[in-house]
């Protein structure tokens, strides 16, 4: 048999870790990446990477608790076996990153230092200054460079993945890609293809994601028949710096250190913020949540800021939505001591010193929990079978998805510092399964009839030529992209209403039709970024429509998906008996909602329209329980739910005993 080969699409943490592990296992790899892999979006991650560790273990932490926090944080929408496997691997992943030279911060004694992140009680997060993602990416990039020098990996940087090549049986046999320099379109026969192309932030116009995060690679697989899971689950970060070109993250620690969020009571007050007296400022978080003030949980802060600008029209600026995040009441020295790193970011990009002038911030799309549907093989203990070719496999044979573009790990909401972990874990874990898949093959892809590959190239060449040759089109792709971003941001981010979503679906469909009429201002065939962008834009629509339709159909609140019309209420009764009775009713409703909606959204594209089915979730290790943060009456609901759970477990002794029961933290 001729040499077998794996094509990895994307060179962020997931793609790099898969490639280096495959190379170690003796599998030849071709990497395809839009940018030199060292410039992938993983560099942007600041905070850190989670694992249970020797310190937290002493305080009662365990891999099981990391698993439980991830599932609870994800509102039980995550399949449990992959998450369990990831949590148990996490300490080993961090050990490996330490060995390959990541400059993690250290303790006095020379151990890895840890910090605490949201959604947990333990200091699980290893970090490297304020650039953990960059440091992890570089360490993996270096390992891949080493394998490249040995001849085990070939990199095709500045190449655009145009789509998988499927044979008549629907089996993936390689990919078609295009050089961003010469515009040459070429086939890459492959015995397995791993898509590790990251998130689709650009569908929202501007987000915290990099300019290469168009989602086009995932969309091209989706259009070729791969299923897409949980598209409607998009994480929005409450505080980002709105720039003319992108939205840059402003760490939550600004509020933690006393930052106050406000808007002028007069809409778009033209005075400088310092000149607006206290009585004419609306500290809306403090007024609406007297107990928590500016430190309401992340999702609530996001929703309120969004509401004040979109529904109340109180944005600081007229043509751009933002509110003030004010630190100017805090002494300069204190700010320098506690927050200098993040304040420098604001200063660098806004040219304004936040110690003197309130910052302007707004929530920003940050991460997609949803992505290409991928499967797994469950082990007897509720984790994954190591080396199974089914792990991370999409519904298309030989086509795998890992990293942010796979839907498996984060459920309805991702915990901070879990994304770097899921990317590296899924990359390392997929490799032995692929090697086993390759050993079961009788023939190498490169030995298949060349007509299969030539046909695929021809099809993409025709699409390319058609785009270049289109004259007299009336539409500008950059302006359509802006409009798409506006529609998506308005309807499908923080607060979702069915009437708005239905309208947005129509608007997105109209934009999709208009995008077909784009004419290019550059019709050359050398480094034509215009045509590359236009293709990516056209490919945003299938995922954009899936996000909107998924959100429209899901009539409940779960994690990042919030529909006020379907929110579970707080308890109103003031006496104990009344509360208890209300809590019983609440739990009945919660149970009914769980039966109906605790399901993955699975989308296939039929005639270019998303077709949605729902799939049961493996909750075999941890039974679902309500997330009750900030709800009045949480303790009573918790009590009732826990009693019911115990009763159920008494009658079903085979069900796993959860170590942690319902919590309201």
């Amino acid at each position: 048999m001729a040499q077998q080969k794996v094509v990895v699409v994307g060179g962020g943490l997931a793609g790099l870790s898969a490639s280096m592990k495959l190379a170690e296992l003796g599998v030849a790899v071709d990497m395809i990446s839009l940018v030199p892999v060292k410039r992938s979006h993983s560099v942007c991650a600041q905070g850190g990477i989670n694992s249970c560790n020797d310190q937290t273990r002493q305080l009662g932490d365990s891999e099981w608790k990391h698993f439980d926090d991830t599932i609870y944080g994800g509102d039980f929408l995550n399949h449990q076996p992959p998450v369990k496997e990831m949590a148990y691997w996490a300490p080993r992943v961090i050990d490996l990153m330490d060995r390959v030279g990541v400059t993690f911060n250290r303790t006095q004694e020379g151990f890895l230092d840890r910090r605490r992140f949201g959604g947990t009680l333990y200091k699980r997060t290893a970090f490297s200054g304020a650039t953990t993602g960059q440091q992890l990416l570089y360490a993996l990039d270096e390992q891949v460079r080493r394998r490249e020098a040995e001849g085990a990996i070939r990199k095709f940087e500045a190449w655009d993945f145009l789509g998988p090549i499927l044979d008549d049986e629907g089996v993936c046999r390689g990919v078609v890609a295009q050089s961003l320099l010469t515009m040459e379109i070429r086939s890459f026969p492959a015995d397995a293809v791993v898509v590790a192309s990251g998130g689709p932030g650009l569908i929202y116009g501007r987000s915290t994601m990099s300019m290469v995060c168009t989602g086009s690679a995932a969309s091209r697989c989706f259009q070729a028949g791969a299923k897409y899971g949980n598209p409607e689950f998009i994480q929005v970060h409450p505080t980002a710096i709105p720039g003319a070109d992108k939205l840059r993250l402003m760490s939550e620690s600004a509020r933690g250190e006393g930052g106050r969020v406000w808007v002028p009571r007069t809409p778009q007050d033209t005075r400088a913020p310092q000149d607006i007296p206290d009585s004419e400022r609306y500290y809306f978080l403090e007024e609406r949540y007297p107990e928590y003030g500016n430190l309401v949980p992340r999702d609530i802060a996001t929703r309120e800021i969004f509401d004040i600008c979109v529904n109340e029209g109180l944005s600081v600026e007229n043509d751009r939505m933002c509110v003030y995040l004010d630190l100017t009441h805090i002494p300069r020295e204190e700010l320098d001591r506690k927050l200098s790193g993040i304040l420098e970011i604001y200063e660098k990009f806004q040219g304004v010193d936040p110690r003197d002038t309130p910052m302007k911030i707004f929530p920003a799309v940050h991460y997609s929990m949803g992505g290409l549907w991928a499967g797994y093989e469950r082990s007897a203990d509720g984790g994954l079978v190591s080396g199974s070719p089914d792990n991370q496999l999409t519904n298309i044979p030989n086509l795998y998805a890992i990293g942010e573009c796979d839907y498996q790990y984060h459920g309805a909401n991702r915990l901070g510092a879990n994304s770097l972990l899921s990317c590296i874990f899924s990359g390392l874990f997929v490799a032995p399964g692929i090697r086993n898949l390759l050993s079961s093959h009788k023939q190498a892809a490169s030995e298949l009839p060349s007509s299969l590959f030539e046909g695929a190239v021809k099809q993409h060449q025709e699409r390319h030529d058609l785009l270049l040759g289109r004259t007299g089109g009336s539409e500008n792709p950059y302006l359509i992209h802006q409009e798409l971003g506006n529609v998506m941001t308005r309807a499908a981010t923080v607060v979702r209403r069915n009437d708005q979503l239905a309208e947005a679906y129509q608007q997105v469909s109209d934009l999709e039709a208009r995008a077909q009429k784009c004419s290019l201002s550059d019709t050359g065939n050398w480094t034509n970024q215009n045509v590359v962008f236009t293709k990516a834009l056209i490919d945003m629509f299938p995922i954009a429509k899936s996000i909107v339709k998924g959100a429209l159909q899901r009539d409940e609140c779960r994690g990042a998906h919030f529909k006020p019309d379907f929110a579970m209420p707080s308890l109103k009764s003031t006496d104990d008996a009344g509360r208890r009775e209300e809590a019983e009713g609440w739990c009945d409703r919660f149970a009914a909602n769980t039966d109906k909606w605790l399901k993955s959204t699975v989308v296939s594209l039929k005639d270019n329209e998303p077709d949605i089915t729902y799939e049961d979730i493996d909750t075999s290790s941890i039974p679902p329980r309500p997330r009750l943060y900030g709800l009045v009456g949480a303790e009573v609901i918790d009590e009732v739910w826990t009693e019911r759970l115990r009763q159920k477990q008494a009658t079903q002794p085979e069900a796993a005993q959860p170590e942690a029961v319902a919590g309201s933290a």
Partner: protein
């Protein structure tokens, strides 16, 4: 604060040095852009792309440029802005106009072959990382426990070096780093062209960033086990001795990496290594 004089200016000019492809003639094109608050050079280039015409009304293809993270952490959007090499994302329009009212000038880096307009081919940077073996040669990726302990002080010295994003500012400013441009011959295969390029790169100066990476890995507890291999590369043609001590690199590095300290360390280590080798120990 931003001076009100320039924020009130309604329009400004952008002068871009354009080139259609490798080895072709370049030319200046000028665009007129409406001023908006909080603009950086990236948003200026986005407006140029959306506009599609020059100041005198001629149709113009969008300027090609590289960018990705827009947070000055990926290194993509490096170019020469008003004569200074830097990232376009962190180049704020109001600041640029304060220094030079009315106009912003953009040109590609001069030390790398131009691909098109402001895009250059920086593959020589990555080749240099291969030359100095900038990696920790671990046995493999199995579970072998944690790495060796390191002191806080060691981490604090390594971390700045590890922030190098291969952007190219240091080599652009370096008088010893000369442009190496290999033009593809008609009918030349990818592999043959790649090999010819690498050969040319391997005989030319490594540059400050790669030297600093060699120092970083020679500091790593595992990496130092094969320090000699890196020193061999630093000792060879285009190695650390090619540095003329102009110290421009350290002043333009956007991450403030102590490049000249790295170069001095590398120079001393190469000297010691050469003497040892001379005596055969």
């Amino acid at each position: 604060m931003i001076s009100s004089q320039h924020t009130s200016a309604k329009q400004f000019q952008v002068r871009v040095l354009r080139q259609d492809g490798p080895g072709q003639e370049n030319r200046w094109e000028v665009y007129k852009i409406d001023h908006e608050p909080d603009m950086n050079v990236i948003s200026v280039l986005q407006r140029v792309a959306a506009k599609g015409q020059t100041i005198d009304g001629r149709a113009s293809s969008p300027v090609a440029w590289d960018c990705s993270c827009l947070e000055e952490v990926c290194g993509s959007c490096t170019m020469v802005i008003n004569g200074r090499v830097r990232q376009a994302c962190s180049a704020l329009v109001d600041r640029l106009l304060e220094d030079k009212p009315g106009e912003i000038e953009l040109r590609p880096m001069t030390k790398f072959p131009v691909v098109r307009d402001l895009c250059v081919d920086r593959s020589r940077k990555f080749r240099a990382l291969q030359r100095v073996k900038a990696w920790v040669p671990v046995d493999g990726y199995n579970d072998m426990g944690a790495g060796q302990k390191q002191s806080m002080g060691e981490q604090e010295e390594s971390y700045p070096l590890a922030q190098c994003m291969s952007c190219g500012c240091c080599v652009e400013a370096c008088p010893q780093y000369q442009k190496v441009e290999v033009i593809r011959e008609a009918g030349e295969s990818d592999e043959a062209f790649e090999a010819r390029k690498n050969e040319a790169y391997d005989n030319s100066f490594l540059g400050p960033a790669a030297i600093s990476q060699a120092v970083l890995f020679n500091r790593n507890p595992t990496g130092k086990m094969n320090a000699d291999e890196r020193l061999e590369a630093l000792k060879g043609p285009g190695g650390v001795h090619a540095c003329g001590n102009a110290q421009n690199c350290v002043s333009v590095c956007p991450k403030g990496i102590p490049l000249t300290t790295s170069i001095a360390r590398a120079g001393r280590a190469v000297t010691v290594y050469s003497i040892k080798k001379w005596f055969g120990s």
